[in-house]
Symmetry: C2
Subunit: 308 residues, 2 copies
C-alpha cells in the first residue's frame, strides 16, 4: 500500500505556513504565505484551498493519498464542530464553520484546533514532554497561550476554552489586560510589555533578541528584566502546579529564547512558592520543536482524529 | 440476593465519623468518636477497626454483606497504593499503608482518599454538581481545599496532589501561608484569617456564625469582610476558570455558610476578571450535601472502586 500523507497548516497573524507531512511526521515539502495579504475571510480560505491543491500536485500525489488536513489556528476554536469562533488578530472571522467549508471544497477529512492546543499535542507526542502523561504547555509571545494534556489527552472541557495561562491573575490589582481582566500574567510578560519596560530602562528601541543577547553578555539591567519576568511567570505557574500537579511544563515562544536566566528564575520561584510534593515532581522544559511545532501538531491532530 | 452495604469513614481533626451506607447511598446507621482521644496512630487504627466490627454486628450483618470500606482522610493520600502520606492536623502519621493494614485486619476491600476528593465525588454524583462533567469543588475551612472532577472522573495526576485551590497565589507578595508559600488564597480566606480580621474590626471575640448572622442583619462591617473574602476568592477562581473552564464550581465548608453576600461577590468578581466565554459558562453552586458529603463520598469511592 502506498504511504499516506497529511497536509498541515499553521496560521498566524504574520505567516500562513503549509506543509506536506509523512506518516512519520517528517516535513517533506513546505511553503509560506503572508497572512495580511488575505484581508478578507473568503480570500484567506481560497488561498488555503489553492495551497493545498498546489502542494498535492507539486508532489505528484492525489487526494486519495492524503489522510487528512490539520489546521492550527490563532484563536478560540470548537474542535468537535470545526468552528472558528474568532481570531483576535485577524479581522472578519466570526463563528465560521471552517472544517465543513474545507471538506466541501476539497473532499478531504479536515481537523481544526487552537494553535496552543496543537503545539501541546506536538510537544507531548514527539517533543520535550514525550512520554509524559500530565503536561502544561505554554507559549510566550505577543499573547501568552497554553494547552493542557491531562491523562495523555488534550483537555478541552465543554467550551474548548481551556489552558488560558496568560489570563491567570497574579495580583489583586494591576495593569488592565487585553482579555478585559486585570493583572493577568499576559499583562506583565507579553512581548510588548517586556519591550516597553526594556525601552524605558535602556532609553532606546530594543528587540527581544537584543534583550536576550544583552542578558547573555551579563548586562545587569537586561538580566533583571528577565528575572522579573521569570518571577511573575513562576508565581502564576505555582498556582497551576498546586492545582494540577503536572509532570512537566513546556515553555515555548519568543520570550522562551531568553534562555537560562529566565528558566532559572522560573524554577527558583516555583520551588519557593509551590507546594513541596508538586514542586519537586514537576519538570520545566524548553519547547523542543521550535517553529515547526504548529505544523507537526496539526499533523498529529489528523493522525489521532482519524483513528478516533 | 441480599443487599450489600458499605462502611464509610470520615476522619477530621475533631471528629471520626463512621456510617453504614446502603447501595442507594442512604445512611442506615452512624456514630461519632472524638479524634483527639486517639493521639497515637495505632490507637486510632484500632478504634477504626473496632468501630467497623461494631457497626456490622449491631446491624446484624456479616462481613460478606459489606461491599467495601471507604475512608475520606484529612491529608495527602496515595489512592492507588492506599498510603497516608501525613495528616497536617493529626501528628504521628507518615507514609502509613492504611489500606493494606485495614484489609489485613478486617478482610474487607478498602479504599482511601483525600477528604476534598471524596467531597468532590459526592457533590458530582449526587450533590450540587450532579450530571456535570467538569467540576471544581472547594471546601472553605481552617484550610482551603479542593478536588477536581475532569471528564467525569477525579483528576489525581501522578502525585495524588491535585486541586490545592487554597494554594493558588493571589498576589506577588503578601502574607506567608501554612504551606510555605506566599500570598496563597488560604492565607487570606482561611477561617482563622477571617476571624482575625473580624476581631480587629469589632474589637471583641467573634465566631464565623456570628459574622454571617451580622451580615444577614445588614451590618456594614460584617458585609464588607465577606465581600473582601468573596472578591479574593473570585480572583483565585478566575484563574482556575481561565485554565480549566469548568462547568461548575461547588463551594462548601463553614465559610460557605456566609451565604448570599459571599456568593454574590464571588460571581461579580468572576464576571469582571475571568474571560467572557468561560465566565458565562461556569455555574457557582453551594455544596448540597453538607456534613454528610464525606460519608456519602467515601461510599461512592467504594462503589466506583470495586467496579474498576
Amino acid at each position: 500500500m502506498k504511504n499516506k500523507y497529511i497536509i498541515s497548516i499553521d496560521l498566524g497573524g504574520t505567516n500562513l505556513r503549509i506543509a506536506l507531512v509523512d506518516e512519520n511526521l517528517l516535513i517533506k515539502d513546505r511553503f509560506v504565505l503572508c497572512t495580511p495579504v488575505f484581508s478578507i475571510k473568503e480570500s484567506l480560505i481560497s488561498a488555503v484551498v489553492s495551497s493545498i491543491n498546489k502542494i498535492i500536485s507539486k508532489n505528484n500525489l492525489n487526494k486519495k493519498d492524503i489522510l487528512g488536513i490539520g489546521l492550527g489556528l490563532p484563536g478560540p476554536i470548537d474542535y468537535k464542530n470545526g468552528i472558528v469562533h474568532y481570531f483576535p488578530n485577524i479581522p472578519g472571522w466570526k463563528n465560521v464553520f471552517l472544517k465543513d467549508k474545507l471538506q466541501a471544497k476539497l473532499g478531504i477529512k479536515t481537523f481544526v484546533d487552537n494553535d496552543a492546543n496543537v503545539m501541546a499535542l506536538a510537544e507531548s507526542r514527539v517533543g520535550a514532554a514525550r512520554g509524559m502523561k500530565h503536561i502544561v504547555c505554554l507559549t510566550l509571545g505577543t499573547g501568552v497561550g497554553g494547552g493542557l494534556i491531562l491523562n495523555g489527552e488534550l483537555f478541552r472541557a465543554s467550551t474548548n476554552a481551556t489552558g488560558e495561562l496568560g489570563h491567570v491573575p497574579v495580583n489583586q490589582t494591576g495593569p488592565k489586560c487585553n482579555c478585559g481582566g486585570i493583572a493577568c500574567l499576559e499583562a506583565y510578560i507579553g512581548n510588548k510589555r517586556i519591550i516597553q519596560q526594556a525601552e524605558k530602562i535602556f532609553r532606546k528601541k530594543i528587540t527581544l533578541e537584543q534583550l536576550s543577547a544583552l542578558a547573555g553578555q551579563g548586562n545587569r539591567n537586561a538580566i533583571n528584566i528577565w528575572k522579573d519576568a521569570g518571577n511573575i511567570l513562576g508565581i502564576a505557574l505555582s498556582g497551576v502546579i498546586n492545582l494540577l500537579s503536572p509532570d512537566c511544563i513546556v515553555i515555548g515562544g519568543g520570550v522562551a529564547n531568553a534562555g537560562k536566566v529566565l528558566f532559572d528564575q522560573v524554577k527558583e520561584t516555583i520551588l519557593k512558592r509551590a507546594m513541596t510534593v508538586q514542586a519537586k515532581h514537576v519538570r520545566i522544559y524548553k519547547a523542543a520543536l521550535g517553529d515547526d511545532a504548529g505544523l507537526i501538531g496539526a499533523a498529529i491532530l489528523v493522525r489521532e482524529g482519524v483513528s478516533e
